[in-house]
């Protein structure tokens, strides 16, 4: 059973306002039948320090990735995970997290690989909830586990692999990493030295739009007008374009994927989760160093 959408006027500007909820809406809908709130953070202990009442935790690292394959869960494991979280296929899932919903967007993207219909983000995430002085608790409510069906993961609509990126060259690519990673000054993100690549730079022709530019100071998403100025005017994406976004392992680019797909309404946006940790170490693919996107390489 799906929970009624948030009718807030602040969301109406977006192409798909139904994928966002405001903190006010969530506060007044906590405990509604059919609503499951999940927190997805970078820090594995943050949830335990205090979370939104009724929220359950989902960890991108220990739960959404396969142990031994560089890939996400398969259908059976995803079904087991969601069953253990008490999620039904028909439930409305609201995700929220730290760092402007960076990791919550990542979880949402994985949910969409399995076609979970009604997944929404809490606009502003954990930080906005806390800034507004709303209730946090360390209590973990008990809940009944469910029998989530085994759904085969469907990657192709929203996930790009390296060969897809090679074929895509010439169409819009967005590099959402920090400027230093884009130019090749750094082979890893500031503060994340263990997740590096062999070479520094970016995929030829990719435009640099760091992911966090889509977020306001209060961690909510920017207005449609501001987003259009960034992605259409500045990055040069045109309505109808097919777009691929990438970062380091595909988490920051999930945020950009969310913005392009649900807030601006692009219908063909994929996230390249192999991202720079793959491309920057891949044999036989071109890269570009420096601040310019560089030319589309001639296919050999």
């Amino acid at each position: 059973m799906s929970v009624a959408f948030d009718p807030s006027s602040s969301l109406a500007q977006y192409a798909h306002p139904e994928v966002l909820v405001t903190t006010e809406w969530l506060a007044s809908n906590l405990g509604t039948e059919g609503l499951v709130v999940l927190e997805s953070d970078e820090d594995v202990l943050l949830y335990q320090t205090g979370h939104i009442p009724t929220a359950r935790k989902i960890d991108w690292f220990t739960e959404l990735n396969d142990d031994v394959l560089r890939d996400y869960l398969d259908g059976e494991k995803f079904a087991a995970l969601l069953s253990s979280k008490g999620v039904k296929r028909t439930d409305t899932v609201v995700l929220y997290g730290d760092k402007s919903n960076w990791w919550a967007s990542y979880a949402l993207w994985v949910f969409k690989l399995f076609g979970h219909e009604d997944v929404r983000l809490l606009n502003g995430g954990r930080d906005k909830w806390i800034a507004e002085g709303r209730e946090l608790t360390r209590d973990e409510d008990s809940f009944e586990t469910t029998d989530y069906p085994v759904i085969e993961r469907n990657d192709s609509p929203i996930r790009a692999f390296r060969d897809d990126v090679l074929k895509h060259l010439g169409s819009p690519l967005i590099d959402v990493r920090s400027p230093q990673e884009y130019t090749g000054e750094r082979t890893h993100m500031p503060d994340y030295p263990q997740e590096g690549a062999l070479r520094g730079g970016h995929i030829p022709s990719a435009v640099s739009i760091p992911w966090a530019r889509a977020a306001n100071e209060d961690k909510t998403f920017k207005s449609v007008e501001d987003l259009k100025a960034i992605y259409l005017d500045e990055a040069g994406i045109k309505p109808g374009d097919s777009v691929i976004a990438y970062c380091r392992i595909g988490e920051r680019s999930s945020h950009t994927w969310f913005v392009l797909t649900y807030l601006l309404g692009f219908q063909n946006v994929r996230n390249y989760d192999g991202s720079w940790t793959e491309w920057g170490s891949l044999v036989g693919v071109p890269i570009v160093k420096g601040a310019e996107p560089g030319a589309v390489p001639v296919r050999r």
């Binding site: 820090d43 594995v44 997740e195």
Partner: protein, 142 residues
């Protein structure tokens, strides 16, 4: 005597718990990370940033006249895992002799049984903190 019994106790404390409760114990450590004394709180420049950690954590090592090691950490409350790691290291190493600290197994963080609970990659930060503590101890006893 360079062996530190407190380390064995910590390893046992974590290992005796099921995975989920290991996180709860780490949270307790995180909650109880000692505050910086004023002489460091007012001089953040004296502290060394642990670059390997995903969150801003800073540490400072003192070695006193008796060659005992004293550890000081600071990390934001939004980074409870990092705070927890720092607090475990504080519990294990603070007040121990420089010789004993230098003899600690560099893999000690992996022996806590936390890797499965927090992911192996996140454990890198704790190993890096230990390595930096030892380096400062070496510099200060040289």
């Amino acid at each position: 005597m360079t062996h530190i019994p407190a380390i064995d106790d910590l390893i046992a404390d974590f290992h005796d718990l099921p995975l989920k409760e290991r996180l709860t114990l780490l949270l307790e450590f995180s909650d109880n990370l000692p505050e910086l004394p004023e002489r460091y709180a007012d001089h953040p420049d004296l502290l060394e940033r642990v670059e390997e950690c995903q969150s801003p954590v800073f540490l400072f090592v003192e070695v006193d006249d008796a060659k005992d090691v004293h550890l000081f950490f600071t990390a934001p409350k939004e980074a409870p895992t990092t705070r927890g790691f720092a607090s475990v290291l504080h519990e294990a190493l603070d007040g121990q002799s420089a010789e004993a600290v230098l003899a600690v197994d560099p893999q000690f963080p992996d022996q806590l049984g936390l890797s499965e609970a927090v992911s192996p990659l996140r454990m890198n930060g704790m190993r890096a903190m230990l390595a930096r503590i030892k380096r400062q101890v070496r510099e200060k006893t040289a």
